[in-house]
C-alpha cells in the first residue's frame, strides 16, 4: 500500500468516529451498567495508617448489619489466592488485594464488605473494628533509598526494587572532551490520569460450569491470565467480556487486585459480586498513581551548544508495592536522547518502595517525566551559551537524512523530519512576532515567557523493557490480532480482542478493512468476542493500536483479497497475476471476465465444486501480528524498544501576573508528526487531550501526602483536574513522515501532546521568571509557588 494520502479512499479522510453514536445518546455500555441477577456489592475499609501491624479485625457488628453477607480480610485471601504479579524479580514483595498482616500506606484496603446494596456495604464498613500497632514509615524516595530506612517489605530486605546503571557509549570520554558541563535536578510530582469513570469490576463464578465471568473497566495486557494465576484456576476457566466500554484509562485501569477480590468473593459466596470504586477509594487506595520521580542530570556540551553526552539518574517512588511501576523507568530508554544526536548516555534507574499508594502505568509509561528532564537540559544549555532555545534544538536535532538512526541505548528510530516540523511551527506561530508579544507583555509589567519542547512518542508498544530490566523475563513478542469473517450474504464482520477506552478502535479496523477490500467501512460490523474466543492481544498500551491492530486488520484483509483473486483466477482459467481486484470484485486484465463481490461470496460459501484445490470453503481470515522490528532479546544492556517514533514540537506563550502568580497560556501551538493519520478526528482528539492532561500535570495535579503519611488530596476539590477554563485553544500544525515499518506509514498518537506539554509549560514559566533570578524545578508549578517565589525574589532585590 502506498503511504501517499491522496491514494487512500478512507484512510486519512475526515470520517466520523462510529463509536460516538452510542455515547451521545447515553448508550455506552460501562461496567456500572452491568446488572447481574442476585449481584452483591462491595465496599472497602481503608487503613488509617501509613504503616501498621494489623492485630485483629472484629467484624461481628458489621456482619449483624442489614443486608450484609460477608466480611473478607487479607488473612483469608492469602490462603485462597496467589500474590499478584510483579514486573521485576522481587518475590518477597508480595501483594494481595487486601493488606495481609501489615498495612503499607494510608488508604490501603484492609477489609471488604459484601452486601445486598453498596449503601449497606458502606454502612457496615463503619462497624468494622481493627486494632493496629503503628510502625515506622517512609514517604520520601531519597529517605527510602537509604539502607537504614524502615523497610516497607521487611522480607525483601530493603526498599530498593531496582538500581541499575546503564552506560551506552564513551560517557566519561565525552564528558572529558566537552568544554562545558552543567548539572541540575528536576522533580516530577506524583499525579495520575484519574479517569472520570473510576475502576469497576463485576465477577460471577459458576461452580458447575467451572467458569468465572468477568466484566471490567480494564486496560491491561494478559488480564485473564493474571486472574487465573492468582485464583489458581485454569486460564480457560476465566471469561473476560471485552464488550465493556471503558470510561477513560490512559494507562491506569489495571484493577487486578479489585478483580481478584470480587472473583474470590463470588467463588466464596456463590453470587455475582461487583466493586465499583468511589472517588475516594479510587484516588487513595485504587493503586492508580503515576510516576513520582527525581532526576539528577549532568550534561556535557561544546561552545556551539552541541550536546555530546548525558548522565541521568532517575529515582522513582513506586509506593507500597512493586507491580509494574519499575518498568516505567525502562520504557524511556527507547528514546533516552529524545530527538537529539547525543553521543553517549549513562542512565541509572532506581525504584524504591515507600508508604504511599501503589503506582500504575500512566500515559507514556515514564516518557513524559523523562522528556521533562531532557527538555529542561536543552533549555539550560541554551541559557548557558546565550543561544535561543530554538537554535540549540536546531543544532542538535537528528537530520532527516540520518534515519533510520541508531541511538546509544540500542533503539533505531524509524523516520522523522524534526527540522521541517519545527520550521513549519515557527512559520505558523510567527516566532519573531511571538517574541515581540512576549517583550510587550514584559514591558507592561507582566512576567512572560516562551516555552519550547521537542520530543518523541515511541509507539507500537512491545515490552522490550521487561527482559531489559528482568533477566528472567524472555518476552520478545507483544502481538495483536484481527479476524475477518464475510458471511454467506456477503456482509463483513471484524473482531477486536480487547476493550477500548475511547481510542476509536472500531473505527480504526473498519477504516483499514474498508480500505483494503475497497468497500464502505460503514457497512462493516465490528465486534469484540469474549476472551475465550479471542486471538492474542496485548491491549491498547504503548501507543500501539494504529500500528498493531491496524496492521493485523490490514493483513487479515489482504488474505481475503488473495483468496478472492485465487477463486476468480480459477473460474477464469488464468493465472493469478492475470486478474485484478477492484471495488470488491475481480476482473481478468486481458479479457472481459468479471466476478462481483456477490459472485465470489456465493462460490466461497456454496460452490465447493468451483473452488480451486486446497482452498477451504467460506471466507474467514485471521492475522496475528508481531510488533515490527521486535526480533531479539536485549544484548549488553541495549535493546530495540518500540518500532515507530512520532514527533511533537510545542511552542507556548505564558503570561503571569506577578502578584497573582497565575500562569495564563496566551498561545499554544503544537507541530505533530505521527506519520500517516488513519482518522484525523481521533488523532486530533488524542493530541488536544494529551496537552490538557500535560497542562494538569504541569500546573495543577498532585497527590500530596503530609508528614503523617496521610494523602491530603482526597477529592476533586484538592486534586485539581483542568476544566475548560484552564485549557487554551490549541493550534495544531500537521506534518507526515511515514514510518517505513507499518502498513500505511502510520505511527502512534495515543500519548501525543502529553509527552511534551509539561516540559513546554515548565520552560515557558522559567523563561518568564528568569529575569528575577529564580526558577522552578518541580512539577506541578502551582499558582501559590509562583506568587511566593516571585514575591520573595522581589523582596530580595529591594
Amino acid at each position: 500500500m502506498s503511504a501517499d494520502p491522496s491514494a487512500f479512499r478512507f484512510v486519512s479522510t475526515n470520517r466520523r468516529v462510529r463509536e460516538d453514536r452510542r455515547f451521545v445518546v447515553g448508550r455506552g455500555h460501562y461496567v456500572a451498567d452491568v446488572a447481574l441477577e442476585g449481584m452483591l456489592h462491595v465496599a472497602i475499609l481503608p487503613s488509617q495508617y501509613p504503616s501498621a501491624r494489623i492485630l485483629s479485625i472484629d467484624s461481628s457488628a458489621a456482619l449483624a448489619m442489614p443486608g450484609v453477607h460477608y466480611v473478607l480480610t487479607g488473612e483469608e485471601l492469602v490462603a485462597a489466592v496467589d500474590p499478584l504479579m510483579n514486573g521485576l524479580d522481587t518475590p518477597n514483595v508480595k501483594r494481595y488485594p487486601l493488606a495481609v498482616g501489615q498495612t503499607r500506606y494510608a488508604g490501603e484496603w484492609v477489609a471488604a464488605v459484601a452486601a445486598e446494596t453498596r449503601a449497606q456495604a458502606e454502612d457496615a464498613t463503619e462497624k468494622l473494628r481493627v486494632s493496629y500497632e503503628q510502625l515506622p514509615f517512609v514517604m520520601d524516595a531519597e529517605e527510602a533509598f537509604k539502607p537504614d530506612s524502615p523497610p516497607v517489605h521487611p522480607a525483601h530486605g530493603s526498599n530498593v526494587l531496582l538500581d541499575k546503571t546503564f552506560v551506552w557509549g564513551e560517557v566519561e570520554k565525552d564528558f572529558a572532551e566537552s568544554p562545558h558541563h552543567l548539572s541540575f535536578r528536576v522533580v516530577w510530582g506524583r499525579n495520575s490520569t484519574v479517569p472520570i469513570e473510576t475502576f469497576g469490576v463485576a465477577a460471577s463464578w459458576d461452580p458447575w460450569r467451572e467458569m468465572l465471568d468477568v466484566w471490567a473497566s480494564i486496560q491491561m495486557p494478559k488480564y485473564p491470565d493474571q486472574i487465573a494465576r492468582a485464583l489458581r484456576i485454569p486460564a480457560n476457566n476465566v471469561r473476560v467480556h471485552q464488550d465493556v466500554d471503558v470510561g477513560g484509562s490512559y494507562g491506569v485501569k489495571r484493577g487486578i487486585k479489585h478483580t481478584v477480590l470480587v472473583s474470590h468473593l463470588s467463588r466464596r459466596l456463590g453470587r455475582p459480586v461487583r466493586l465499583i470504586e468511589d472517588r475516594l477509594e479510587n484516588m487513595r487506595g485504587g493503586d492508580q498513581h503515576g510516576p513520582e520521580r527525581i532526576f539528577d542530570v549532568d550534561i556535557a556540551f561544546n561552545d556551539q551548544g552541541i550536546v555530546r553526552s548525558m548522565k541521568m539518574r532517575a529515582l522513582d517512588n513506586a509506593g507500597g508495592y512493586a507491580g509494574r511501576a519499575p518498568f516505567q523507568l525502562g520504557k524511556p530508554i527507547g528514546a533516552i536522547v529524545g530527538p537529539y544526536k547525543i553521543n553517549s548516555v549513562q542512565y541509572r534507574a532506581q525504584s524504591v518502595t515507600s508508604n504511599k499508594a501503589v503506582q500504575e502505568a500512566v500515559r507514556g509509561f515514564g516518557q513524559s517525566p523523562t522528556n521533562y528532564a531532557i527538555e529542561t537540559a536543552i533549555d539550560k544549555v541554551a541559557v548557558a551559551i546565550g543561544l535561543d532555545p530554538i537554535e540549540v534544538r536546531r543544532r542538535n536535532f537528528i537530520r532527516k537524512d540520518e534515519f533510520p538512526y541508531l541511538i546509544p541505548s540500542g533503539t533505531s528510530y524509524d523516520s522523522g523530519d524534526y527540522h521541517t516540523v519545527m520550521e513549519k511551527v515557527l512559520t505558523h506561530v510567527d516566532y519573531v512576532a511571538l517574541q515581540k508579544e512576549r517583550d510587550r507583555l514584559r514591558a507592561s509589567g507582566m512576567l512572560a515567557g516562551i516555552g519550547i519542547a521537542a520530543c518523541l512518542e515511541p509507539s507500537g508498544g512491545n515490552s522490550s523493557f521487561e527482559p531489559l530490566l528482568n533477566e528472567k523475563n524472555t518476552t520478545t513478542t507483544w502481538m495483536d490480532s484481527c479476524r475477518i469473517n464475510i458471511d454467506g450474504a456477503g456482509f463483513v464482520t471484524v473482531t477486536i480482542h480487547t476493550t477500548s477506552a475511547g481510542q476509536g478502535h472500531e473505527t480504526l479496523v473498519a477504516t483499514v478493512v474498508g480500505e483494503v477490500l475497497e468497500i464502505d467501512p460503514d457497512t462493516i460490523r465490528v465486534v469484540r468476542p469474549d476472551s475465550l474466543a479471542c486471538l492474542p492481544s496485548n491491549t491498547p498500551v504503548g501507543s500501539r493500536m494504529a500500528i498493531m491492530l491496524g496492521g493485523a486488520a490490514f493483513h487479515a484483509a489482504q488474505k481475503l483479497k488473495a483468496k478472492f483473486i485465487k477463486i476468480a483466477a480459477h473460474q477464469f482459467g488464468c493465472k493469478e497475476d492475470e486478474v485484478g481486484y477492484s471495488g470488491g470484485g475481480v476482473a481478468a486484465t486481458q479479457r472481459k471476465d468479471h466476478l462481483s463481490w456477490a459472485d465470489l461470496v456465493g462460490i466461497a460459501h456454496r460452490n465447493f465444486h468451483l473452488l480451486p484445490a486446497g482452498i477451504e470453503p467460506g471466507l474467514e481470515s485471521t492475522h496475528v501480528m508481531q510488533v515490527p522490528t521486535g526480533t531479539k532479546l536485549p544484548e549488553n544492556g541495549r535493546v530495540q524498544m518500540y518500532p515507530c517514533h512520532s514527533f511533537e514540537f510545542h511552542v507556548v506563550l505564558i503570561a503571569i501576573d506577578p502578584v497573582l502568580g497565575k500562569p495564563d497560556i496566551r498561545r499554544y501551538v503544537i507541530g505533530h508528526d505521527c506519520g500517516t493519520v488513519i482518522n484525523p478526528h481521533i488523532v486530533k482528539g488524542m493530541t488536544l487531550g494529551g496537552i490538557a492532561h500535560g497542562i494538569g500535570a504541569a500546573l495543577l495535579e498532585e497527590f500530596v501526602y503530609d508528614g503523617e503519611g496521610q494523602m491530603l488530596t482526597q477529592s476533586f476539590m484538592d486534586y485539581l483536574l483542568p476544566s475548560s477554563h484552564e485549557i487554551p485553544k490549541v493550534e495544531i500544525v500537521h506534518h507526515c513522515t511515514p514510518s517505513p515499518y507499518t502498513v500505511f506509514g502510520q505511527k502512534g498518537s495515543g500519548e501525543s501532546g502529553y509527552l511534551g506539554a509539561p516540559a513546554a509549560i515548565s520552560n515557558a514559566i522559567n523563561d518568564a521568571v528568569r529575569s528575577l533570578g529564580i526558577s522552578f524545578s518541580k512539577l506541578p508549578i502551582r499558582i501559590s509557588a509562583i506568587s511566593d517565589a516571585v514575591a520573595a525574589a522581589k523582596q530580595d532585590k529591594q
Binding site: K684, L688, A692, F716
Partner: protein
C-alpha cells in the same frame, strides 16, 4: 419512601430510601444508565441532568428533592429511536468525545445553553461547560461541537423552550451581584420552590 418523578415526560414511581441520590435512583430504580457517576461530590459534572431545563448535579440532590420538577436525562434528548438531536449529531460530527463517559452530562449542559440562546461565543461555551470535566479531549472538539450545533440551530428556524432566560455573564466573574448569604437571608420560604 415512595417517590413520583416526571422523567423525560414520563410519570415514574418508585420506593427509595430517603438518602438515595437522584443519580442512584435514575440508574438503579429507573434503569436510566446514561447518567454517570464520576466523583459523587459535585465537581466533575458526569451526573448532570436537567431540572426544568437547568443543569443540576444529580449526585448532589436526593431523589425525593426532584419531585415536582421536569427531569431530563440523556435518554430524553434523542428525537426518536436511532435518531440524534442536532446537538448530539454535532458532537458526532466534530468527535467531541473519546471514552463517552462525560458525554451525556456535557450534551445536557450544551442543550441547556442552546435552549437559552443560539448566539453563543466561544467564551460563553467555555463558561457553560466549565462545570463538566472531560479527561479525554482537552475540550477543543467539544467546543467545536457546541459552536457547530449553535450555528445549525440558528439556521434551522427551530423554536427554543427557554428563550426568556438570560445567559450568565462571562464578563469578569460568574458570582452573583450579591453574596450568597445575603441572597439566602432575603429569600422567601425554604429550599427550592
Amino acid at each position: 419512601m415512595k417517590i413520583e418523578l416526571n422523567i423525560n415526560g414520563v410519570h415514574c414511581a418508585s420506593d427509595v430510601e430517603p438518602r438515595t441520590t437522584l443519580l442512584d435512583a435514575l440508574r438503579d430504580d429507573f434503569l436510566l444508565t446514561g447518567t454517570h457517576a464520576g466523583c459523587e461530590h459535585g465537581v466533575c459534572g458526569a451526573c448532570t441532568v436537567l431540572l426544568d431545563g437547568e443543569p443540576v448535579r444529580s449526585c448532589l440532590i436526593f431523589a425525593v428533592q426532584a419531585d415536582g420538577y421536569e427531569i431530563t436525562t440523556i435518554e430524553g434528548i434523542a428525537t426518536s429511536p436511532g435518531e440524534l438531536s442536532v446537538i448530539q449529531d454535532a458532537f458526532c460530527e466534530t468527535h467531541g468525545m473519546q471514552c463517552g463517559y462525560c458525554t451525556p452530562g456535557m450534551i445536557l449542559t450544551a442543550h441547556a445553553l442552546l435552549e437559552r440562546t443560539h448566539d453563543v461565543s466561544r467564551e460563553d461555551i467555555v463558561e457553560a461547560i466549565s462545570g463538566n470535566i472531560c479527561r479525554c479531549t482537552g475540550y477543543g472538539q467539544i467546543i467545536e461541537a457546541v459552536e457547530f450545533a449553535a450555528d445549525r440551530l440558528k439556521k434551522s428556524n427551530a423554536p427554543r423552550r427557554n428563550k426568556t432566560a438570560k445567559i450568565r455573564s462571562v464578563g469578569g466573574h460568574d458570582a452573583p451581584e450579591r453574596g450568597i448569604l445575603e441572597a439566602a437571608a432575603d429569600a422567601p420560604g425554604t429550599g427550592p420552590r
